[in-house]
Each structure stands twice: as structure tokens, then as C-alpha cells.
Subunit: 321 residues, 4 copies
């Protein structure tokens, strides 16, 4: 088989990234501004999440509500139990509530292992229940506090992306697609890796529209450390899938560049990933990024984060020729 | 040595994956439907598991039984000890049980660090024993709760595999072996890697049957992220070990394709692995997978999980020629 | 485009490591002696650190102060609350303090789940507050103790670097840049990787000074294990960016070699990284490292850490020719 | 420089693995039977271990002694403090010990947060001390229990190595160096990597003996999973450093093969490493490993661990020619 004969449909088949698709209407962007993916799933028969994932990925507000509800529910059940065995199995003084509440507060003091002793078990069954309650409390609070800490210490990264990607002059006579990132946090990122995928929609001869995907070659896809910023560059050379596109074709074909940045974060001692995308509306042609840091008189290097997205338009005539 | 001279037996020797074997009877599949391996070990002299592995890999039911038994056993031992030193070393009122149970419940209240004070140590030995019990309780519950959380938060993946693997038309004039996977959970998998190994049984000139292993080249063995599904494709080109096999030879030689999928799960912050296999009974010839998602009018991408295994039979005449 | 036409500015553009810069004054070193980076950020609008990172990276002294302040503050708030609902909701005897302190100590006993019972809640609101306090205590101490352990067990490495880097004779007729490292701790480091970047400042035709970066090829950049020391060697061959430099040009151009060492530490079960740099003042020409270990009569290998930086000057005449 | 001119001393320089050395006496083996390294360090000025490493790597017996001593010491200090402020600041009854022991047991009940209330603080200073003690208890037991669990759950591997390495016939007319490993535990190891380094001692023209190191090419250095055993094979082809050695030269030069096996252990969710070495005494010439598993009538694969090291001697005449 000669390379020339490869049709578009076939090539798509082995260039797809697991989410090739038939497009009916106008396509929305695949990756949202917050890095999440724009994909819905039909209500299928699959278990959507592991319990741990559910508890780790939910909002903090919801998490605390789940913990509080669990605490109340367990105490409620134990309160019922103590009430049923008879509140006289508990020793207490100066507490003038309904027996349910005696059991409830006793359970709370048991589960949390506070155990003031203002209420204490005297009957055999109450003693056994209390021993069970303390065990349940230790085990379930181990889950709650473990989850709390896992959520709190979960590695994540807060990269700032330039608002737009630029098509800039590059070397002599050439152009390159560029965007710029910086770490919004003070800590050092190491072993950064960048990946850039170009996706667009193309109609075949039957008028059916297919999503196309191509990986883009980057001038540098690995950076050992990023104390400052990083400009990620795709040279638009002849074998680039973006070669010979213009503003018009970008819009017509719903062009979108998917970006994945991976790095090692020393403070979390873990690998972090960041997703982003640039749509055709977020492309600026014939411009280049402005410098965003300088060295002052003392020799210090000063990074100006607010200038990350700054660029200057340049004449379309090639400057480096 | 010329490449032509390599006989089959010799090649097997350096293609084996650590489990080459002489086959006596009909071979059972190597990887079960649940991803476990179908291998028995003769009762040898080796320590089969590290205690941690045993406690992490056992069923939840068994784990809770181990914890409960441990709790009862420690309390039992302390109860005996308090009984032996004399229950008058403990101060208590309104408790009318056998001294053993006084000690038992006191131990439970100490181990869990509840310490109501309804029972409290007054003798010197009882105080020393209680101080020891609280220390033992803290340390052993640290193991129990640590294990509980390690079990609960242990990274695992729930991939859905297509029921069958297909032999589909591929590019022009060619065929490819394909199967399809999708994540049953809602979270995003990143950095997926696929590995496919073909194994079968072959008789040598003496009639002894040997298991053979070959790695299969995949069209794409790495996927940076899988928001939707992934079709893993082995092109059956001339240097493929599966080239020129037919249904008959597959059955006769107990053909099985071993599959390993590895991915990074962001919610667990860890790498996960999934094992699967397709046997000759699970191969469908001359068929191709049906689409399993579409873009609706709002531009959303909808994934239909229940269609993962759907395929359509096609005429054996090459369609792309 | 021919390779010859690549000017310096262009080449810099794709050799920069994310921190290329215009230099106004004399440059200070980029990596300090302690491995930290010498970079300031202008007060921008970005969130500088994740709370977790802040609490993990701060000094121990500061961390304990944060924990103590948090403990006092929570107890203070609960003390106010108990005072407001009336201290008669608490049962206590023999305590003759201001009601605020009764509430304060009761809160401390609740948060830490000690719960002596010398003070115990008798009113309904006090009981509810105590149940809440115990929950808050468990959750917030889970963070405090989790952070304490994360800080304590955080993987780090303590490499000793030779004080200077040497330009030594190397093979026949050649020279190489060398420095030597060793692990200051007794544990074994595995899978070491070294990276060396040369950076200097160069004036362009307009007199503007630019920072230049080049990766240096290492003779060996991977070491499977380092029981003893490791001499990292950059051969100064013709395509090396350091080729044909002399002492004078090093000083004039503020030469600095950035070093990154990465390794796997078995005891922490994690990857560790170490940063270092050598400036032109820390280069010694025409010298070679002295041996730093020997085998004694019993066949034991003895490592002398204090000799790590020892070197002997040699005549500039090539020795191996 | 032509390749031919490379002398032995020079080559050693860039083949050394960080522990090249001058040898005075007879060399002992570099890696002991238990996988530890046979290296001593002269008492230098370096900090030998991070506290965490010290506590994680010490024996269990020593660890429990450290914990117990710490517990006793803290209680001792608090006992002194309570004694100094006056034991009348504590409320207790029926306890007829020396005031020191009252304070000691009260401290134990506070640190472990048991807090029976049999002893409870009534003075202001005692209350403040108790609040401090509970905080110290929580924090220090977080370290103790965290360390306990880190030790218990620390990933390690228990590989069984064949007692000897074999020089076996290999393919046609060739020989190969082989050894065999298997996992002593029931769990599955994934992503195994093998590394083999040959080291020996050679005298230079001055009679000084130098240690030499060479990496050995392996026929297969990666195995995706090891349900059974793995035979690691170094083909002794012409460019192998072991080519043309015989039994005599092995002994004379203190030959030793260093082995590093790395794998991913799913149950620990971590990477594990194993070190081993074969000395010249542990080489067997002209032998091959016997099969160590079979398939029974039901099609099950049975692994016989006790046969791992079994081999059969074969005639020195090449069998495959």
C-alpha cells in the first residue's frame, strides 16, 4: 500500500484519540475553560463512581454535609437502641431530657471517644453496645478524617495560560503556533511535559461531518524545571496538520487545540496534570508575546505574572527574512 | 547465524513471558473474566503473603471479622489480667457483673480511649495496666484504621471491555484485530497504555505441546487521555504472528489474547492496571464496531455505554478496496 | 532553511528553559547554595500557594505556632459560647475559675476527646455543643496530625556536592567538566538521573544582554544505584557549548552550570530531587579528583566522605597523550 | 580518537557505576545474600540518616522500645510537673500512691486521651498543663502511629533467586548466562525490569588492582507481568564483556554479577526493588534449568516453587548445532 492512497477516513481511524465522533450540529468546545471535559454520558447501566472517588471529588460543602449527616444518623440509631434497652441501663445525673436524647448524647460521646462519664453504661447490654459504638466510631472516623486529609492534600496545579494562542513569525521565513504558561503558585514545578492535539470537524463526501484529531509536534515537549514561564511552540512546517490553514478555515471547521501539561510537584510529592484548550476564536495571527520578566539592578530576576498574556501585533511581512 | 534458521522452539525461549509451560491436557484460559490469573501453585515452602498484603487483599467481610476478633481477643486478655490482679483494683459502682466482664468493658473503654470513668483504675497495677492498654489500643487501632483507609482508598479501575474482539477490514485490503474499552466510571483516565500478547499451544515434532507467546504490535499503544472509549487495534500485517490464521487454527491451538491496560487515575492519584483476555470463542470475524456516541443538537457529545460491544457483521469481500 | 543560517537569538529561543530574560545589571546566580531558586515575583494577582503547600513548606517553628494558635482560638470560641449559654449548663465541682475558663478547659478536653468528666455537659445546648466540639476536634486534629506526619515523612535528599567543578584531562587529548556527588545519608539511592545546563549572558549587537541556556551532554546520565559516590562528567568535545571557553570568557559572561539530580529513595518510597549550581568562581582548571575510598585488608570497601571535594592539580600538558 | 585506542583504564572511567575503587586485598562480594551492600563508611562529618529514615528502617523491636521509652519519658516529665505544682491541683479519690505516680498516671490518661476522670484537674495550672498534655499526646501519637503504619505498609518484595547462575547452550552454537527468579508471594508483579552488571578486578601494568564494571545486554529486560517465574538471559555473544571467559579467569578476577530487579506491586501500590549478586563460586557451566511447572489434566497451571533452582548438567558438546 502506498502512503499516497491513505484517504481521510482511514487516517482518522488511526489518529483518533478515543473520542472520534459523528457530528450532527455545531460542535461545542471539547475542553472547558476550567479544564473539565465537555462530554455527557447517556444514563447507562454502569456504576458511575467508586465511593472513594465520589467522596474525594465532591465539593467541600457537600463533603461536610455528608460527614455531619453520617454522624447524626449513627447517633440516632444508637439513641434508638439505648432507648429500647431502657435508659436505666445508663447512669447519669442532672440530665432531664427525653431518654432518646440521653442515648443520643451518650452515643456522640462514645463515637468520638470523648467519654466524659457524665453518662456511663451500667447495664450489660449498654456496656456491650458502648464497646461496639466506640469501635464503630474509631473505624468510621478513620474514614472521615482520612478522606478529609486526602481531599486537603490532593495534588493539583494552578497553571495560568495566556488568554490566546499566537501564530507568530518563527525562525527565518516560518511561522509557529505559540502559547505561554506559568505556575500561579510559588513552588517549583519539575519534569514538565506538554502535549498538544489539534482537532476539527470535516465533512466527508456524503456530507457527514467527522471529528478529526492530530498530534502536533512541539519544538520542546519536556522542560526539566519551570521557575518562571514556558512558551510552548508548534512550528507550522510543511508536515504540520495546521500548515496552510487560514482564519477562515479555522472558523469553518470549528478548530480547537487541546493542551495537556504534566509536571511533578515537589510539595505534594506527586505528579499533577492540567488540561486546557484554545478554540479558533482564541487564536491571534501575526503577533508575538511580550517579555514578562526582567533582571533588576541587584541582579534579581523579577517575574510579572500579570503580563503572561501580553502580546504585540506585528506586520504580516516576515520579520526575520 | 541467519534469521531463517531460528526454529520455533528456540524463538519461544526468548519470547516467553515468564510463564512458558509444557501442556498435558486441554488448556484453560490464562486470564479469567474478572482479570485474575488462572494459576495454581504447588504447596511449596515459600511465605505466600506479607501480612499487609493479606489484610489489604482479603474481602471486606473477612477484614471486619479480623478486626472484631482482634478487639475481642485483646479485651479478653486484659479482662483476664484485671481479674487476676483483683477487681478491687478498679473503682466502679452500679455494675453487677462477674469481675471478668468488669475488666472486659474497662479494657474496651481503655483501648478505644473512651474512658468514661464509670470504671476507673485505683490500684497501682491496674493503673499501670490501663496506661499500657491505652498505648496498645492507640497503636493497634492505628493499624486497623490505617488498613481500613488503605483498603477503601486503594486505586482500582473499572474498565468495560467489549464482549468480543473483532477481525475487521482495515485500511485498504487489510484486516485488523480490534477490541473496545471504556471507563465505567465518570472520572478521567490519563496516560493510557495498552499491551496485547497472543498465546497459543503448539505441538513439537515429539508431540509435546508447548505454550507460545508473542507480543502484538498495536497501531496506537498510548493514549494521553480517555474521556470516551478507545478501540485498540492490531493490524494483521505480514509480520504479525496472527497473520494467516483462520477460525479453525484458532480453536485447534487454544488461542488466547492477553490484554493489559495501564492508566493514571487522577482521583486516586495513582496508576491503575486492568487485565483481560479474549479466547478464540470470543473472536468475531468480518465485523466492525458500531458507533457508541454522537453529538446532539446543542453540540454536546453523548456516550452510550451500553453500545460498547455492539458490532455489525459485514460481507467478507473487502469493503475498502 | 539551512542549519548554518541559525543566528544566536533564534537558537536561544528554542533552547530557553522557561526562564530566558533580558539582563540589565550584573546577574546573580540562579540557584543558591541551598538549592533554592533566585527568582522574585512582582506582586501579581495570583494565589501564591495552596493552603496545603503553605502548611507543608513552612518552618517547623511556624507550623507549631499555627497549630497552637488554632487550638487556642477554637477553645476561645467555644469558651465564649459556653459562657453565653450559661456555665450552669456544665456540671463541675472544685473548679473556682471565671466561667470563661471553665468553658475553655471543657472545650480543650472535648476537642482532644480526653473528656475527664471533671467538667461534663448537663444542659441540652451544652450537650449539643459538646457533640459538635468533639466532631470539630476530630476533624481538625486529623488535619493537624496528618500535616505533622506529611511534613515529617516528606521525602528529601541530602546530597553532598564537591565544592568545585573541575576541568580535567579526559581520555586522550581531551578535557571534561566534572563534579562529584555522594549521599550524605546511609540509605541506598536508586535510579539516579543527572541533568546539567550551562547558562551565561551574552550581549547582542545592540548591546542588550541576553541569558543563554544549553543542555550539556553527559557521559553517563543514569546510574542504577549509588552505594558510594558518582562523578558526573561532561566531555568538552567539539559540539559542546563549553568548547573553546577559557577562564576569562567564563567570568566575563557570568557562566553558571545548573545541576539537577533525581533519584529514588527506598526508605521514603518516593522520588527525590536535588538542585545545585557551579558558577565560574567554582571552576578549577587542570585538576582531577582524588580517590575517596579504598578496600581494606578484609576486602571491605571504605568510603571517606570528607574527601569528596579533594582534588589534585595537574600540569596543563595533556597526560594521556 | 579511534575506538581501538581505548585502553582499559580509560574505559573503566566511563563505565564505573559510582563505586570504582583501588583494591588492596582480596575483594569480598559487593552485594550480600540478603540484598544489602557490603560497604563501610569512614566516620565522616555527615548526618547519617534523616530521623524518619532512622525510625522506618530500624528493627521492630527497637521501634517499639523507642515508642515505649518516649511514652515513659513524657509521662515522667509531666509527673514531675504535676508534683511541682502540687498534687492538690488534681482531684482523685481512693488512690494512695506517691504524688509522683498520681501525676504519672494522670499524664498517661491525658496523653492517650483516655481521660477516665478518676483523676481530673481542678487547679488552673493543672488544667492548663492537661490541655497542653492532650495536645502533645495527639501530635506525638500521630507520629508514632503514622510511623507504625508506614513501617507496616512499606512496600517490599520477596523474590526467590535460583541458588546459582548457569552458563547454558543458547540458540545455535552459542551460550548464555542465565538465572531464574520467582515471586515468593501470591500477588502479581507487573512491569518488571531487570538489570545485570558484571564486575571484576583487574591488575594494571603497575600491579595495582582496579575494579571493573560492565552492563550486560539482556535478551529481555522488561516483562509486563510475572504470574510464574522469569529466566533472565544474557547471551554471551562476541561484544559481551563475558565473552571468552572461563572458570579459571572468573575465579582469578573475583568475578561477580550484580542484579537489580524492579517491579510494580499492585497490593502495595508501589514500585519495589530487589538486589542480588552471583559470584564466580555460584556459576555452573554447561547446565540448564529444569521445568518448574506443568499443566494438569484440568488445564490448570501448577507452579512448583521448590524447583526454582533445579538444573540438569548437559554435555559440553553443543546440543543445538
Amino acid at each position: 500500500m502506498s502512503k499516497k492512497n491513505k484517504g481521510n477516513i482511514i487516517k482518522d481511524e488511526f489518529e483518533d484519540l478515543g473520542f472520534s465522533s459523528n457530528i450532527n450540529g455545531r460542535a461545542r468546545r471539547l475542553i472547558n475553560a476550567d479544564g473539565s471535559f465537555n462530554i455527557l454520558r447517556s444514563s447507562g447501566r454502569w456504576k458511575q463512581q467508586h465511593t472513594y472517588q465520589w467522596l474525594v471529588l465532591m465539593s467541600w460543602k457537600k463533603f461536610f454535609m455528608v460527614v455531619a449527616l453520617f454522624y447524626l444518623a449513627i447517633n440516632f440509631l444508637f439513641a434508638i437502641a439505648y432507648w429500647m434497652i431502657g435508659v436505666e441501663q445508663l447512669s447519669y445525673s442532672d440530665l432531664h431530657f427525653h431518654p432518646f436524647w440521653i442515648g443520643f448524647f451518650f452515643s456522640a460521646q462514645t463515637l468520638t471517644t470523648v467519654g466524659y462519664g457524665g453518662i456511663s453504661p451500667i447495664g450489660f447490654v449498654a456496656n456491650a453496645l458502648a464497646a461496639l459504638g466506640a469501635l464503630i466510631g474509631l473505624l468510621s472516623f478513620a474514614l472521615a478524617t482520612g478522606l478529609l486529609f486526602a481531599r486537603f492534600s490532593r495534588a493539583n496545579v494552578n497553571l495560568m495560560y495566556s488568554k490566546v494562542a499566537l501564530v507568530s513569525p518563527y525562525k527565518e521565513q516560518q511561522q509557529a503556533l505559540m502559547f505561554r504558561i506559568s505556575n500561579q503558585r510559588r513552588n517549583l514545578l519539575a519534569d514538565l511535559q506538554a502535549l498538544m492535539i489539534m482537532t476539527w470537524i470535516e465533512a466527508d463526501s456524503n456530507g457527514r461531518r467527522h471529528r478529526q484529531y492530530r498530534s502536533l509536534e512541539l519544538e520542546r515537549k519536556f522542560l526539566p524545571m519551570m521557575p518562571l514561564n514556558w512558551t510552548i511552540v508548534h512550528p507550522i512546517v510543511e508536515n504540520s496538520p495546521f500548515y496552510s490553514w487560514d482564519k477562515n478555515s479555522c472558523e469553518k471547521r470549528d478548530l480547537e487545540f487541546l493542551v495537556v501539561i504534566q509536571a511533578y510537584d515537589d510539595s505534594f510529592a506527586n505528579t499533577v496534570r492540567s488540561y486546557h484548550s484554545y478554540r479558533w476564536e482564541e487564536l491571534v495571527w501575526d503577533a508575538k508575546f511580550s517579555p514578562m520578566f526582567y533582571t533588576d539592578e541587584d541582579g534579581n530576576t523579577i517575574l510579572e505574572m500579570e503580563k503572561l498574556g501580553n502580546f504585540e501585533r506585528i506586520s504580516t511581512k516576515k520579520e526575520f527574512s
